[in-house]
């Protein structure tokens, strides 16, 4: 992946300081092996300078970590790839610079089944982590092989049990469905097996072919055929239907919670709130500026070592763009949005350019309104992006140049 949103110089970001409480994201860029669908930044760990990267993460935390974050999320990569000692060094260091253990209501660590056993789970628990997200992805061996995963279903179950044993109340399971060749009936059976574990949270993603991934390349080369739109829709509907029946609330397009156990850290993203990310490729949003670190360990470390600000890009969207963005993100959630609040969040002044669109989408049955909030209807969920584009358009038109005089 060579994606960098902007090459424009980073000007505003270094001057921005996170408010106390700002959610903290920590990117651990190592995996045993790279999965074929994944477009997050990570490298195979073998031969890498893991302790050195850890030093750099802590150096960055020292300089940039927000005081007393409300939530902490260790993502990657595979944070569980680190040894117990290294995890201790990481979490102790993070706490020294942010005091998250005293402040955070939610501290999540992403784990992969091959690197989560009971001792590690217990260590994480003791180090202040209170929520684990385990990447099952699939129970089908053929799909795990297609994805380049290095574990099997049995290891996934074992990891889940280890987490429970270690005392984790909050355990989320990541799943991917809608894979070429996958049968819907088989997926439904696998989903049942996962739900039988009663995780308090499930992230179920329809397979996405991200540009630049090996999977997308294979698709392009005709190695397999993507499910057609109706099949994808059937998977999507079956998944949310089954999860609803089991008592899970679809609180976001791909996220389901039991007993209200939503991931607060992620909910903040969908509210278009501020956050601070450390680690290579990690993105931060402070005030109206979003900026990201270099998407590679070497330049990221070099910048930190030289005392430079590690961001490689930044963008400060116009208020009208922020408005469209806030609608888009908010409508991904069950909670939906409150139009006046969106205007405030985006810092948009002037009359709401989305009013007509709201009306038309209400009329067409894609939006519904209750208690002053707008949300997608059952019909709206599967086409959330099409709806989002219309909001982005409606807001962008606000700033389009005027037509010439007659």
């Amino acid at each position: 992946m060579s994606f960098a949103p902007r090459t424009n110089p980073v000007q505003r970001a270094p001057g921005l300081r996170p408010e106390p409480g700002t959610p903290l994201y920590v990117h651990v860029p190592f995996c045993v092996a790279k999965c074929t669908y994944c477009d997050f930044y990570s490298v195979a760990a073998e031969g890498q300078d893991l302790p050195g990267a850890l030093d750099a993460l802590l150096l960055e935390a020292e300089r940039r970590a927000p005081p007393r974050p409300r939530t902490v999320f260790l993502g990657g990569g595979t944070p569980s790839f680190y040894s117990v000692d290294e995890l201790a060094r990481l979490l102790d260091g993070l706490d020294r610079w942010s005091h998250f253990r005293a402040s955070a209501e939610e501290v999540t660590c992403e784990c992969n089944p091959e690197s989560l056993d009971f001792p590690k789970a217990r260590a994480l628990r003791e180090l202040g982590v209170d929520r684990l997200s385990i990447g099952f992805q699939s129970l089908e061996q053929g799909i795990l092989a297609l994805f380049g995963r290095v574990h099997d279903a049995e290891q996934s179950f074992a990891a889940f049990h280890a987490a429970r044993e270690a005392g984790f109340q909050r355990v989320s399971i990541d799943l991917i469905y809608g894979v070429p060749g996958q049968e819907l009936a088989r997926w439904e059976v696998d989903l049942e097996r996962v739900l039988a574990l009663r995780p308090d949270h499930v992230s179920a993603y329809q397979l996405t072919y991200e540009d630049g991934t090996p999977l997308a390349a294979q698709l392009q080369a005709g190695a397999f055929q993507r499910l057609d739109e109706d099949q994808e829709l059937a998977f999507f509907e079956a998944t949310r239907g089954r999860l609803a029946d089991a008592g899970y609330e679809q609180y976001e397009v791909s996220n389901f919670s039991l007993n209200g156990q939503q991931c607060s850290h992620n909910v903040n993203y969908w509210s278009n709130g501020p956050y601070l990310g450390i680690g290579p490729s990690a993105v931060s949003k402070l005030a109206s500026t979003r900026f990201g670190n270099a998407r590679s360990i070497t330049p990221w470390r070099a910048a930190l070592a030289a005392g430079r600000f590690p961001a490689a890009w930044e963008e400060t969207p116009e208020p009208s763009v922020r408005l469209g963005e806030t609608w888009w993100l908010g409508l991904r959630t069950r909670r939906g949005v409150e139009p006046a609040e969106v205007l405030r969040t985006a810092g948009f002044e002037g009359s709401d350019p989305t009013l007509r669109l709201q009306e038309s989408l209400l009329e067409l049955g894609f939006l519904e309104q209750s208690a002053g909030r707008m949300r997608l209807t059952a019909r709206g969920w599967p086409v959330a992006d099409a709806v989002a584009r219309r909001f982005l358009e409606a807001c962008a038109e606000q700033t389009s140049p005027r037509l010439p005089r007659e």
Partner: protein
Amino acid sequence: MDPKLIRNFSIIAHIDHGKSTLADRLLEACGAVEKREMHAQHLDSMELERERGITIKAKAVTIWHVHEGVRYQLNLIDTPGHVDFNYEVQKSLQACEGALLLVDASQGVEAQSVANAYLAVEAGLAIVPVLNKIDLAHARPDEVTEEIESAIGIDATDALRVSAKTGQGVPDVLRAIIEKIPPPVCSPDDPLRALIVDAVYDEYRGIIVYLRMFDGTLRVGDKVEMLGSGKVFEAIELGRFLPKMQKSESLGAGEVGYFISNIKHLGDVKIGDTLALHKGAKVEMLPGYRPPQPMVFADFYPTNNGDFEKLRTALETLALTDASFTYEPVTSDALGFGFRCGFLGLLHMEIIQERLEREFDLDMIQTAPTVTYRIVKHGGESVDIHSAGQLPSPDHYEKLLEPIARVSILIPAEYIGPMMQIAADHRGEFIRQEYLSQTRVQLVYDLPLAEIIYDFYDKLKSATHGYGTLNYEVKGFHENELVKLRILVNNEEVDALSTICHKDQAEYRGRATIKKLRKEIARHLFEIPIQAAVGGRIIARETISALRKDVLAKCYGGDISRKRKLLEKQKEGKRRMRQVGNVDIPQKAFLAVLGDREGDDAK
């Protein structure tokens, strides 16, 4: 200059029959242009002209030629060869006393040369037939001579036989110009009268006016009045094109040359106007040109809305030298702000479009051409309309008329069958058929102009392997069973896509149109019916199904900027979308329907 030593002439020729090459040879033979500084085809100065092998703007070049010890001034006034430019030809001929009728000795007489030769004959000009390309192995001069005689009705027995390419026979042409074309009839001693033959805009010097002097003498410093417009100018510079500009202190009766007066306003010069001395003796205006009514209309929209004023200026500039071209501002729900332009014909339209793009660097969208229709209201009043959108509902008028053209088609005899079929398919009414020689036939039809501009010309060309030519002249308006074909998207009419057509063609054209639209309109959140209708009757329907699944699975803090851009990219071109009945119709869809007719043949 003694008018007796002046010859003013033009060359009438079909495209590719060698007019520009002959003109070059004449310049070269008289030393007007050194061979080494010749670049092929000197008169076609516009890049576009050279590329297309046709001459768009009339220009005048003065050649000095010594014949039997006497120095003559030969003024070659250039004429365009294409059917669309009859009006330009008329302008050129009015400044001449004679014309060379140049015919390719292998191709034979073509419809346009016949039409232009008629104009010359009618204008009382001496016609000198010249057979060109005589060096070609398949030249058939005897037969072509016969064709000239039967098609135009002039004696062509002593037609000159030349090769402009090799120079063979060129001296004979010069001799014929002097001996067969009469000198101008004019009075050097009468008060000044000159005809404005043409004008070009020069960025640095203002407007350069081409003059054909009739009476009197024009001198540098003279104050002159344009009798038609009443504008007064001082002659700052006078001269001739040799073909380079050469200044002169004066221009005498019968001569052709240029006039510069630092004129900046395009509207100040009217081609066909008469120039006379300001505050001099009253003189009669010379007969000017009657600009023909444009019969073919198309809309030009700048691709960037911001270029609207630039387009307006460009159109003004072009209209300066082309009174046959009209334009007026128009707005379209679909395409924004633009101009509805009137043209003499299809080629005229293409030329204008290309000039706008090349000379003015404008990027434009052009709609498919339509013709002028005429409605007769119940009270008998008639109104011309230039687009289907202007057509009121049928109860508001009594008759709907369309322009009918008399079409003359010249083809090799073996293509008579297919040609008659094409004419019948295009609602043609057979008038007559005439053999010009054993191998060439002239067919005459009355054909709705709408059919000619639709695809008749293309069909003619392909059916005759490019050998067929046509010329047409609009004869008048006839009532026909015409209907307005309406296009509805999501149950709302899209005015810009409505057309007028014959009732028998409505269903086919309606189906073709909605099929194109179906391909170009993206799926929406809801199902979109696309319909073609005549009156209230739906004659064809297509449906664009609704989007069913369109949502990103993952969206977290690290993705937001990138995924938003992805969404924005997917909506790219939104500025070029028009909303009709809640449906975003991309400009591409309008162009697919309005712009080109490709794919219509796929029945």
